[in-house]
């Protein structure tokens, strides 16, 4: 199994390098085309996400596999950077290590947020693009299909993915569900229109909420965000009115003073008639006066409160890490052994075939020379040839079988291929 990976990730490369080496999905087919122009016998996959760019190359024949330098050069050329600039921030894995790395990446064990589920779909997408770009990628197919299977196994057998670790997901998917049975039919008020607001809105929309109101000092930003999430914009002056009608409020502004003071809330508390209100204060400094939490049926959570929950979930995930790692080790070993066994089997078959063909040629030649020989004698000669061939093949085949079935593969397959001039 010849697999090599060259790439960068959040573990080793800084964000500038990651940004420069990032390939948008639209540019991946062009990258793969240039790869196949240079290495037509090899196969490739390019995985590019915000946290990593990984370039996998595989081949049945070791000689067809590009070297790591060639792969780095191609990456550098296609992304318009000098290879010397990025070389020290790239990693390279070969063979079993490359397989292990791919399994870890797909199972989200190498992710910045361990256990996040997005990476699996990103790997699947990269593999899909590779399939579309080149018809026959049987080696890549075997490796990536296995990587996806291993990721699913880890997901089923461990709780690595079970709890959420990002602040908006914990806030909306965990905490809001403890207050509201569903967000469908609930009125959500978003104060602010920045990145945090957008990220939180993604989860809110996924929970089925369609009644979204956005309030922001700069109304144009609010309009942009509202357009993305089918929400409506309300003016800053109407903040109190909107608070009065909301079930869930998310504060995400960059204001230096609380935008909702206790006096302001006290003024609308009577109109709210003590209806439950879930307040997510995701702003730093805080958008809500902490005294609001003392009001009847108001559940106010700040960024710190949510971060505590995230940390707890993260620790929970980490506790499942050793088990997931054990699965990776086990699956990598099994996959590699299987690949070696298959390769060994193919070499043995080739060797036998080659010996059989040589035997048949020599037998035929002998038959032509020994005209008039009785069929019984001819049969005895054939048996003798057959036994001789088997006796000659027996020691190398036994050594090869011992080699491929042992834990340490000593390169016997390659040696035999070279000795007997066998092709791939």
């Amino acid at each position: 199994m010849n697999l090599q990976v060259v790439g960068c990730s959040h573990n080793l490369a800084n964000v500038e390098v990651r940004e420069r080496l990032a390939f948008p999905e639209s540019k991946v087919p062009a990258f793969l085309k240039s790869f196949y122009d240079l290495f037509p016998e090899a196969e490739a996959v390019l995985l590019s996400t915000c946290n990593r760019t990984e370039f996998y190359a595989a081949s049945k024949d070791k000689a067809a596999l590009p070297s790591s330098t060639q792969m780095v050069q191609l990456l550098a050329d296609q992304s318009g950077v000098g290879s010397a600039e990025i070389e020290d921030q790239l990693f390279t894995y070969l063979g079993q290590d490359a397989i292990k790395h791919l399994f870890s990446v797909t199972a989200s064990m190498d992710s910045m947020v361990v256990g996040e589920t997005q990476i699996l779909s990103q790997v699947k997408r990269a593999y899909e693009i590779a399939t579309q770009s080149h018809g026959s990628i049987s080696t890549i197919h075997k490796i990536f299909q296995n990587a996806i299977r291993v990721a699913k196994r880890i997901s089923n057998e461990t709780e690595l993915h079970s709890s959420r670790v990002s602040v908006p997901s914990v806030a909306v998917c965990d905490l809001a569900r403890q207050i509201f049975e569903t967000l469908k039919g609930k009125r959500v008020l978003i104060i602010g229109a920045g990145e945090m607001a957008e990220e939180t809105l993604n989860y809110i929309r996924d929970e089925g909420c369609r009644d979204i109101v956005i309030v922001n000092r700069t109304e144009s930003k609010a309009q942009e965000l509202a357009a993305k999430f089918d929400g409506v914009v309300s003016s800053w002056d109407r903040l109190s009115d909107e608070l009065e009608r909301a079930d869930l409020v998310v504060g995400t502004t960059g204001a230096q003073q609380p935008v909702v003071t206790s006096e302001m809330f006290a003024a609308i508390e009577k109109q709210r008639r003590q209806a439950s209100l879930f307040v997510l204060d995701l702003a730093v400094p805080r958008d809500f006066d902490s005294q609001i939490a003392d009001c009847q049926n108001v559940y106010l959570y700040t960024l710190d409160d949510l971060q505590r929950e995230c940390d707890r979930n993260r620790r929970g995930r980490e506790s499942h890490f050793p088990k997931a790692q054990m699965i990776i080790e086990q699956e990598t070993g099994l996959f590699f052994d299987d690949a070696v066994r298959r390769e060994g089997g193919a070499t043995i078959a080739q060797l036998k075939q080659q010996a059989h063909e040589a035997k048949e040629i020599e037998l035929q030649r002998l038959k032509n020379r020994l005209d008039g020989i009785s069929p019984e004698h001819m049969e005895q000669i054939e048996v003798a040839f057959h036994r001789l061939t088997n006796k000659i093949l027996h020691p190398p085949l036994k050594s090869l079988q011992t080699d491929v079935t042992s834990d340490k593969h000593g390169g016997m397959i390659e040696a035999l291929k070279k000795l007997f001039q066998l092709g791939d």
Partner: protein, 321 residues
């Protein structure tokens, strides 16, 4: 069908006990097979419970002409209702620990049923059997409903307290959402009020029918059972009315507190009912030593009737004493 009479209280009580044990184990460790074991034992318990109830009910009808003819059967029937409710919750809210709150109520009712024994049979004349059944059943459903309401209220208060204190929800002790608890609590409150009202009205109707046999007031207000029942009914009615008319009362923990207090009322009521041997042949009149024969609110003051018309009482009791 000999096997039917081999099913005893122990069969379903043991199943429910196992279910409660399995629910408790949630707090200590995770197990993938837990839902299967839990639902399996609940189904087994409910099956045994249903067979037992049907078989015993048939015997009761053969012997006394009425179903649920004693407090024991009444307790088992109420426990059955709660066990069915548990089954529903364990499917709808499988990850929540609702069962930890329902199963103790089920087991408590079974235990009370065992403790009461089967000597305390209701004694009702043929003419009033229909109304007595309505009376008994509606109060039994009301008890189950108030019990469930208490559970919703108690869990609501726990969940609200936890959220206020920002305590992390443990995976092993998941509670349902406040909205769901509130909605279910409100429904059980309305159902309790309606069923309690039905029980009260049917009790009065029994007394009205009884006016032909026994002299006395329509409602025996001097009986602690009667006035406590009336208070419970008025309380539930008031709660429902206030709930509809006054918006803030609908919100949050107010409903929860109302539900919990309703349950405490109910407990008091049941203690009084069982204490005075209401509706059974065990309650003795202080003056004449006569027995009360009608369920719950239908009891009349016996002081006068026993002394004035002892014959009528003898006839009404159907000679079962």
């Amino acid at each position: 069908m000999d096997w039917l009479n081999k099913i005893s209280v122990t069969c379903f009580a043991a199943s429910y006990l196992v279910v409660f044990g399995v629910e408790l184990s949630r707090l200590f460790w995770k197990a993938k097979l837990r839902p299967i074991v839990r639902i399996g034992f609940t189904v087994a318990g409910l099956f045994a419970h249903t067979v037992y109830m049907v078989y015993q009910g048939k015997l009761e009808i053969d012997q006394s002409g009425i179903w649920l003819s004693n407090w024991t059967a009444w307790c088992y029937a109420a426990a059955w209702l709660l066990a069915v409710a548990y089954m529903w919750f364990s499917i709808r809210k499988s990850r929540s620990v609702v069962g930890l709150f329902v199963m103790p109520l089920v087991l408590l009712l079974v235990l009370v049923g065992i403790a009461l024994g089967d000597q305390n049979s209701f004694t009702v004349s043929e003419a009033k059997t229909g109304w007595s059944t309505v009376h008994g059943l509606s109060l039994m459903f009301a008890t189950a409903s108030v019990g469930l309401g208490f559970m919703f209220g108690a869990i609501y208060l726990m969940q609200a307290k936890r959220l206020e204190q920002k305590k992390v929800q443990s995976d092993r002790f998941r509670l349902p959402s406040l909205e769901w608890l509130h909605r279910c609590g409100e429904r059980s409150l309305i159902a309790s009020a309606i069923l309690m009202g039905l029980g009260f009205v049917s009790g009065i109707t029994i007394n009205m029918l009884r006016q032909n046999d026994v002299e006395g007031p329509l409602v025996a207000w001097d009986s602690p059972v009667i006035w406590s029942s009336a208070i419970l009914f008025v309380w539930l009615l008031a709660v429902v009315v206030i709930n509809f008319l006054y918006k803030p009362a609908q919100q949050g923990r107010k409903v929860a507190y109302l539900m919990v207090s309703s349950f405490l009322f109910l407990l008091l009521e049941l203690v009084l009912v069982w204490g005075v041997g209401h509706a059974t042949g065990e309650a003795h009149d202080a003056n004449a030593g006569m027995q009360f024969k009608t369920p719950m609110v239908a009891r009349v003051t016996m002081t006068q009737t026993n002394t004035l018309r002892p014959q009528a009482l003898q006839i009404r009791s159907g000679g079962q004493r």
